[in-house]
């Protein structure tokens, strides 16, 4: 059952990455998963539940990995760099799962609002710690804009089937994220440590 659940998770991720949430039917999920329709419905009541299950699991795994990478180093700028490098590595290894994190949810409401709630709420607090290094007041929406900008760059590569390009992006993306907090020169120096 556990293996079938994992296979369905993979099928959900593949179907959504290829077709988008709306067009990813149960039929299109079970084919790459290699399970029967009956098995699918034995495990999940429907597509929405399967989506939420894999979404939650992927986001939890990303959060754990990023937190572990950040905990392993100091100071803050390096923690940000390590977190970004880890997230990119996970996205490059499992592009379909990474794309699923930014897909439209079955719960209604604007997709970006959901992405904001889920991703920004998890990772913004760590970024916000950098405000103490800023020379002056920063926009209240800075963390959302930075994280969304970063996610957009990653998704564009994933959608284009260019997951291999993600790892080398760790340094420039860290520089992009650090610049508003510590200035361009220090951000460049901090990001070059990755």
């Amino acid at each position: 059952m556990r293996d079938q659940r994992r296979r369905i998770h993979t099928g959900v991720a593949k179907a959504i990455a290829g077709q988008g949430y709306e067009r990813a039917t149960v039929e299109r999920i079970i084919k790459p998963a290699g399970v029967s329709r009956r098995t699918f419905y034995e495990i999940f009541p429907g597509k929405d539940d399967a989506f939420l299950s894999v979404h939650e699991e992927t986001l939890a795994e990303l959060t754990v990995r990023v937190a572990a990478a950040a905990r392993a180093t100091r100071p803050w700028a390096r923690q940000v760099g390590a977190a970004i490098a880890t997230a990119l590595e996970m996205a490059a290894t499992r592009p379909e799962h990474a794309l699923l994190l930014v897909e439209e949810p079955p719960t209604g409401g604007p997709r970006a609002a959901y992405m904001h709630d889920q991703l920004v709420a998890r990772f913004a607090p760590g970024l916000r710690l950098g405000r103490r290094y800023a020379p002056g007041p920063l926009p209240a929406t800075l963390e959302q804009a930075l994280l969304s900008g970063l996610v957009g760059v990653v998704v564009a590569r994933l959608r284009a089937g260019r997951a291999k390009e993600l790892a080398p992006l760790a340094t420039p993306l860290a520089e992009f994220v650090l610049t508003p907090y510590v200035g361009a020169a220090e951000a460049r120096a901090g990001a070059s440590d990755i």
Binding site: P110, H116, Q144, L173, A184
Partner: protein, 159 residues
């Protein structure tokens, strides 16, 4: 119920029309500004005002495009790339612009699109969009101009 192909055709037509309306709005605002920082600031103010005045268009260009699978994302991405090109144009004339990572311009525009998209679901937050423009201007200009100049421009203390 429309078939998926027809839905896609309709989406593409609607997206192109909405994007054209946004482009006209942004380019008209930029035309009044001579210097690159002023043009960027005008473009951002215009885009945020456009979203507040035409939330259905803005929703189509962001949330609905992203929910429309590969086709929708490709159009969304091309739209962001169009506006990122306008930022890239300023690199050569700004003190910090030349050394910025290549992804900066695209990431900045993506961040702005998300700030707008995230507020489109609720009328109360839609009407607040124009008031967010100064923050967005500061966010975008900081890497190119440095924190102090970006803050001054965002506050309208210089052009």
């Amino acid at each position: 119920m429309r078939d998926p192909e027809q839905q896609l055709d309709d989406f593409v037509s609607e997206f192109q029309a909405a994007f054209a309306r946004l482009q006209i709005c942004v380019e008209t605002a930029c035309a009044a500004e001579a210097a690159w920082p002023g043009r960027v600031a005008a473009a951002i103010r215009a885009a945020f005002s456009f979203a507040a005045a035409h939330p259905d268009d803005a929703d189509l260009l962001t949330n609905r495009a992203l929910a429309a699978g590969r086709e929708g994302f490709e159009r969304y991405d091309r739209m962001l790339e169009h506006f990122a090109e306008g930022l890239r144009a300023g690199r050569g004339e700004r003190p910090h612009g030349r050394d910025l990572p290549p992804i900066t311009d695209r990431a900045m525009v993506g961040g702005l699109a998300s700030l707008i998209a995230q507020r489109l679901g609720d009328r109360a937050t839609v009407v607040q969009l124009p008031a967010l423009a100064p923050e967005a201007i500061q966010f975008v200009l900081t890497p190119y101009l440095g924190a102090e100049s970006a803050r001054e421009l965002a506050a309208g203390r210089r052009s």
